[in-house]
Symmetry: C2
Subunit: 199 residues, 2 copies
């Protein structure tokens, strides 16, 4: 393994948007899609990104940390949650952003591998925490705002609604292998919203 | 590869429930879960089931045909669709039957492999046709009966409803890795039914 020193870019803990960080995360996703989690090698990711492994491990202590950040950044964070004042519009915007990654060849490759390796303890932890952070916590804000506006029944099961929307998209892409069209997204969200309206 | 002759059991085209057929299909599922579709070998399945490969190929002309029948039989056929006169009860019964396979270690192993190999042309065809045969056509009967009884809006998008129910179960099992409890099934089906009621 090539050890690089001196003139390589420094990876700061804070600057997530830095080109060097984005490069490492991009290489991580490509390696994940190509080889899966088990065979992903952090030293190899470092080499491909033009860094030495020590620099990478300084920022991401474990392979699981590196993969978690790569996935979190690709799927968008709570900061990206739209806020138009209308739940239907917000859900459509959010679904389109998620599809930008999940529906891309790279995103599909990564998710296929993670699904295949779902029995791996790191993937189990990752899937559980990603679901809490990304698909529940971020959209949770969006649903909470809608409840405050009276758009939803106050007893709406938000986690179930998200499981259902995310699951329908996943089924459409990975099982039926049909395109997620704008019309499909609208019909899906309308079905869920009718189920969640105040009675 | 061992070639067997003479005293091995005959595989009839008609008798799907025969022990020898069930044995071949069971071995096929085990090999799928262990090695995936690409690496599944029909001659090896034959050997493990105590048959020669000619007998297996006589009934299932291709690997895709063998895998399709193994999956169709495990997930239940249109003949198994319940008919209690109440859509909610029927959906719960059907979901429990599906979970018997999909939620088992063997079923999870098989589905993980099929998801991982989803880009394979055979799997693409299989997934598309399985979805039409199993998840749409079989439950379609169930929804049609409910529409005839006036339990559902006449313009209900049945395929979307099934994509959503199957997707939510898949997300719960493979992403969240949480148990599909009876309470979860009921909440899921109630959410969908509220979205599909006549307005």
């Amino acid at each position: 393994m090539t050890e690089r020193t001196g003139d390589e870019p420094r990876i700061s803990r804070k600057r997530r948007g830095e080109p060097v960080v984005r490069q490492v995360l991009e290489v991580t996703l490509q390696q994940l899609a190509a080889h899966g989690y088990e065979r992903l090698s952090v030293p190899e990711v470092a080499t491909l990104a033009g860094l030495n492994k020590t620099s990478v491990y300084r920022r991401w202590a474990t392979k699981a940390d590196l993969v978690r950040e790569a996935l979190t950044v690709s799927m968008g964070s709570a900061a990206d949650v739209p806020n138009t004042g209308n739940l239907r519009t917000d859900l459509l915007l959010l679904a389109r952003v998620a599809m930008g990654f999940v529906g891309s060849p790279l995103g599909m490759g990564v998710i296929r591998m993670l699904l295949a390796e779902g029995a791996h303890p790191d993937i189990r932890d990752l899937a559980a925490s990603m679901f809490r952070q990304q698909e529940v916590v971020a959209p949770l804000v969006l649903f909470q705002r809608a409840m405050a506006r009276g758009e939803l029944a106050p007893d709406t099961d938000v986690k179930l609604a998200l499981t259902t929307i995310a699951g329908a998209l996943m089924h459409r892409i990975f099982i039926e292998q049909e395109e997620v069209t704008e019309a499909f997204l609208e019909r899906l969200i309308d079905l869920m919203l009718r189920g969640m309206l105040p009675r």
